[in-house]
Structure formats: structure tokens, C-alpha cells
Amino acid sequence: MKLISKLTLFITLSKLAIVLLFVLTLPYLIGEIARNYTDYYLQQQQIKVLEVVVKNGVDAYLQGEESYGSYTMLKEEYISLEPVEKGFVLDTIYTDERIIEQDTLNYRVLTHSFITENGTYLMEVGKTIETIDQYKRPLQRIATYVLLGLILITLIIDLFYTRYLLRPLDRIIRTKIINRKFPFNENSVPIQTNTTDFRFLDDSLISLMEQIHEAFEKEREFTANASHELMTPIGILQNKIENLMGEPEVSDFVQERLIGMQKTLNRLKRIVHSLLLISRIENEQFSKKESVSTAELFADVMDEISHRLSERDIILKIDISNEITLENINRDLLFQMIYNLVNNAIRYNKPSGFIHIVNRINPDGSYDIDLIDSGIGIPNEDVGTIFNRFRKASQSEDSAGYGLGLSIVKSIADYHKIVISINSEIAKGTTFTISFPAELIRFLT
């Protein structure tokens, strides 16, 4: 899960948890507030009652009666006075039932004993619980709304702010990681940010990429220079041998030796040539503006290679559509790629074996060519390394391969964004699948 999603989820859930907690505790809190307020109200009433009692005297209220009681019409509040024994002290607030005119009601009751010249009296001031509760509901509702509103606002602010904060990270991922391909040829532009962590991450990535790019450049330059420098002495040696072979007085024995030398030299020349070719492909020195039909390409390859088929008695069958044209490619390179693959299929085939070349168009518009051979096959553990330089099929009996043919194939494929996959079975054969991406394909109609 992405960091931004995680943060969003966390912020939302934590806020929801807080709201839930608050909403659950709200009735209790509001109840508490209402009761406190009621108690305060009752105390105020008590003071007022005592004031008037002091002013008017208890008798003005008792009017000869034993006790005094007064309540409002709806029995929401009442006040009572009654004599108690001398020395009785009570001063408290509690919730209790009271029966007033056959109605049993719950009251919040304040009792207070006080002494007058006539004796000790107990005063009660009561207020129905119902009137207390009537504040609770609207209070609770308003509190909930306000709370939800506040939470929503902070949630939105939080989300926007984290999004804003994390934007540099997103940009680093997009420009430095996802869209970058080895060997990171383009220059890296530093991301605008004042978050030190992101600054550090971005700087580290840029410097890492520069290091990789530099190392790769050096290796590439070395290969190109080394190959280039090797060509001159090879040329001199080759010409010396040629001149020597042209001398009439050279004996058959020496002639034979010279041919041997020439062969070895040629092998060296070929290796250097191949390395130079690979380095040029990796240097992107080839244009990709040509187009060729696959049928034509295979015809060209067959033209060059058919002599090798007859030599080994191999039957080759090509079922290639002639309606497909490859675009934005380098024709010479694709020729070389197909040539090397077919050549490989011949070299590692069994005598009188077969090679079958088929193609198919995939639903996503990409185009596959399969080269199926009846060769010796490639052991599973070798499939991954077969495109490496200077790697030879371990089971190969002839030592002709110098392990660069498939490296060249790989470089050419990579250069054109072509994918080559291998499916092989020992002693049965190998299938090389060349997958051309849809953008290289055009259909002839």
C-alpha cells in the first residue's frame, strides 16, 4: 500500500475513533453538566428561599400549619418547609422520588436544615429530572454536529496537507525510479522540496545513478577503445600473413601453418568485431528509422544461410505472414539478430533435424515469432545465462561458438525493446520466441 494511502487511512480511522469515543461519552458528559448546573440552580434557590424566610419569618409561610409546601403548576419544581427535631442537621443534594398529589415523580432534591427562633426546620428545593433531561438532548445534538463538522474540516486539511507534504516523494518515485532505465543516460533534475528527508533521498538517488552511469560509460568506452586499438595490430598481422602466403617459395608445411595462424587471427578478429558491434549498439550508434517486412527479412537471412542447412541436412520450414512490416527498426541489426538465431538453431541441431519458424499476432497487438528447433536443448540452469558474453552451451560438442552470437542478439533485442524468451527441453529442442512490441508492427492491407 502506498504511503499516502496508509496515511489517509490512518488519519481517517483515528479521527473516526475519536468521534465515536466522544459521541459515546457525550450523554454521560452532558448529564454531568446538566446535573451540576441544576445543583447550582438549586443552591441559588436555597439562598433566595433563606433570604425571604429571614425577611418574612417562618410563620409567614407556615401560617399555623405544621409544614409548608409549594409547587408550580406542572410540578416541575417544588419548595417545602417542615419542622424537625432539634439538633437535626442535613445539608445535601440527591435524586429521589416524591409523591405530589398522587403523582410519583423523580426530583433532584436539595435538603437543608436551618434553625429559627421557632425551632429547627428542614427545607427542600426540588426540580424534576425531566426538566434537567430536556436540555440534554439538544445539547447533545448540537455538540455532535459541531464535532462532526470540526472533524471533517481537520480531516480535509490533514489529507491535503499530507498530500502536499508527500508530493516530492511521489515525484522522486516517478522521475527517478519508475521512468528511468539502466544505464540512466538522461541527466537527473533535482526535485524541488524543503523537506530534508526527501532532499537527502533525492540527492542520494541522483548521485547513485550518476555513479552507475559513469561506471557503465567507462566500461562501454573501454570496450570501444580496446576493440578499436586491437583492430590495427590484427590488421597488420593479417596482412603480413597474407603477404607471406603469396610468396611462391613458401613450402606446403609453412603454408599449412600460416593457414592455422590465419584461422586463429580470424577468430580474434571476430571476437573484437562482435564486442565492437555490441558496444556500438549499446552506444545507440545505429538509427532506427528503417522498416522491413518480416517475410523479406527471413528471405534475406535464408539467402545467406541456406548453404549451412543443406550442409547439415536440416529441414527448415517458414510459416511467416507476409502482411507484417516492422517499423522504426534498424534493418541490418534485425538481420543480424535473426541470422544469429537461425544460425544457432542450425549449429546446435542434430543432423537431419528440423527448424520450424512460425508467427502469431497477440490480442494486445504485439507480434511473436517462434524459432522451434530439434536441437540438443539448453539445460534449465543455463537458460538464464545463455545471453551472457563469452558463455558457451556446456553440452556443445563443437567449439565453434565464441559465446558472443547470443549476446549480440540480446543487445539488438534490447535496443529495439524486443523480448526474447526461451523454452527448452534437453535432447528435444529449443524454442526461441521473439516478441515484437505493438509499436514496431504495421499490418499491410
Binding site: M231, I236, Q285, A400
Partner: protein, 224 residues
């Protein structure tokens, strides 16, 4: 034919010179661009073999200068740079051919021969070989007015052997000429033999082909 070889690698230059002299060319050498241009200003040459990697001046500039001094000569570029742009620019600037280093001397001679035919229109198009007449220009082999059909590769093989007549050519040299860089590594394979066999069969139907000799363990040669 007069040849000027402008090449800074002296050892290589001497080998080329030795080879060309044997092939009856008159060969002058210059190891710097300055010296080369100086010589071009004084002497008329038929061929200029120009190395692009000269120490004192960029090879392509030398080519431009040289073309001004001697526009009639045939120019062959020799280079180890071998990148395609150089090749295109070189040919655009009026070079007649382009040989990447390392090159075979036999190949060099073959290219020079081809240019001679094309450019100087020498009357050596038709070569008589035993009972056969070979027209290198029209690429036709005939026997008493009968045209014999050879494939492109068979004809190339025959004319290459013919150019270097009396010299044994190895299978490797032959396959390199015909397949160039695509020639494969296993020279012991017999596909050159298959082509030679076909040539013998096709020509043999009309007349004697004993001039095409197999040299055991080495290769083939045309004796004349």
C-alpha cells in the same frame, strides 16, 4: 596504376605497399596528412588509399582537400573507426569505396579492381579462361556464345579466384569475401566446397574446368 597510400601506421603501410607492388601497382607512401596532400599536389595518382585516423588532420578533411588537388583519382577510405556516419560522410564526400580495418589485402585488390572497371572503364572486362569467356562487367560466363547461368555467389567466388589467379585462396578468405562479416566461425565446414562443386558442374557441362584447382589442405586456385 599509381597508388598513394596515406596511412600513419607504418608497419601496416609497408605490408600494403609490398602487396600492391607484387600486384604491379606503383605505390607511394605518406605517413601524415600534410605529406600526403603535398604529394598529391605534385604527382597524379589513380588511387588514393586514405586512412581516416591520421594524427595531424581529420581524415574526412584530408579527403575534401585531396579531392580538390586530384579530382580524377579513385579514393578508398581505410578506417578502424568503422562507424556508419563516417562511412556515409566519406562516400558523400566522394570516396569510391570504404574498407573497415582490419581488411584483407586480397579484398583491397578486389575493390580496386572493381573501381578500375567502373571508373576507368578499362578494356579488361572480358577474360578468357580455358574455353570460357568471363565478362566481369556484365557478370556473364559464356562458352561459345552459350551463356552459363551462375548464382550471384558462384559468380563472386569465380571472379575473386580469377582476380587472384595463380594464388591459393583459403576457404576462409573466400567465405569472408562472399559473406563478409556474416561469415561464420567454422571454416572447416564445406559450404565453399559446395559452391565450387556447383561451379565445376555447371561449367563442366560445356568444357574442361581443370584450371580450377583444389589445393589439398589449403583451398582453391585458378591456374592460368
Amino acid at each position: 596504376m599509381k597508388v598513394l597510400l596515406i596511412e600513419d601506421e607504418k608497419t601496416l603501410a609497408y605490408e600494403v605497399e609490398a602487396f600492391l607492388k607484387k600486384a604491379f601497382y606503383i605505390c607511394d607512401m605518406a605517413h601524415t596528412a600534410g605529406k600526403g596532400l603535398e604529394m598529391l599536389g605534385v604527382n597524379p595518382y589513380d588511387f588514393v588509399l586514405l586512412d581516416l585516423g591520421l594524427p595531424d588532420l581529420d581524415g574526412l578533411k584530408v579527403l575534401q582537400e585531396a579531392k580538390k588537388l586530384n579530382p580524377d583519382a579513385a579514393y578508398i577510405i581505410l578506417t578502424a573507426r568503422g562507424n556508419i556516419e563516417d562511412r556515409i560522410v566519406g562516400l558523400d564526400l566522394g570516396a569510391d569505396d570504404y574498407l573497415p580495418k582490419p581488411f584483407s589485402l586480397l579484398e583491397l585488390q578486389s575493390r580496386m579492381q572493381a573501381i578500375s572497371r567502373r571508373k576507368f572503364n578499362l578494356n579488361t572486362h572480358e577474360i578468357i579462361l580455358g574455353e570460357f569467356v568471363i565478362d566481369l562487367q556484365k557478370r556473364i560466363v559464356s562458352h561459345q556464345m552459350n551463356e552459363i547461368e551462375l548464382t550471384r555467389k558462384e559468380f563472386d567466388l569465380l571472379s575473386y579466384l580469377l582476380l587472384h589467379k595463380n594464388r591459393v585462396l583459403t576457404r576462409m578468405q573466400l567465405s569472408e569475401h562472399i559473406w563478409g562479416t556474416f561469415a561464420d566461425d567454422d571454416y572447416d565446414s564445406n559450404y565453399i566446397d559446395v559452391h565450387i562443386k556447383n561451379i565445376r558442374k555447371k561449367l563442366g557441362a560445356f568444357g574442361q574446368v581443370e584450371w580450377l584447382e583444389t589445393v589439398r589442405g589449403v583451398g582453391y586456385k585458378i591456374r592460368k
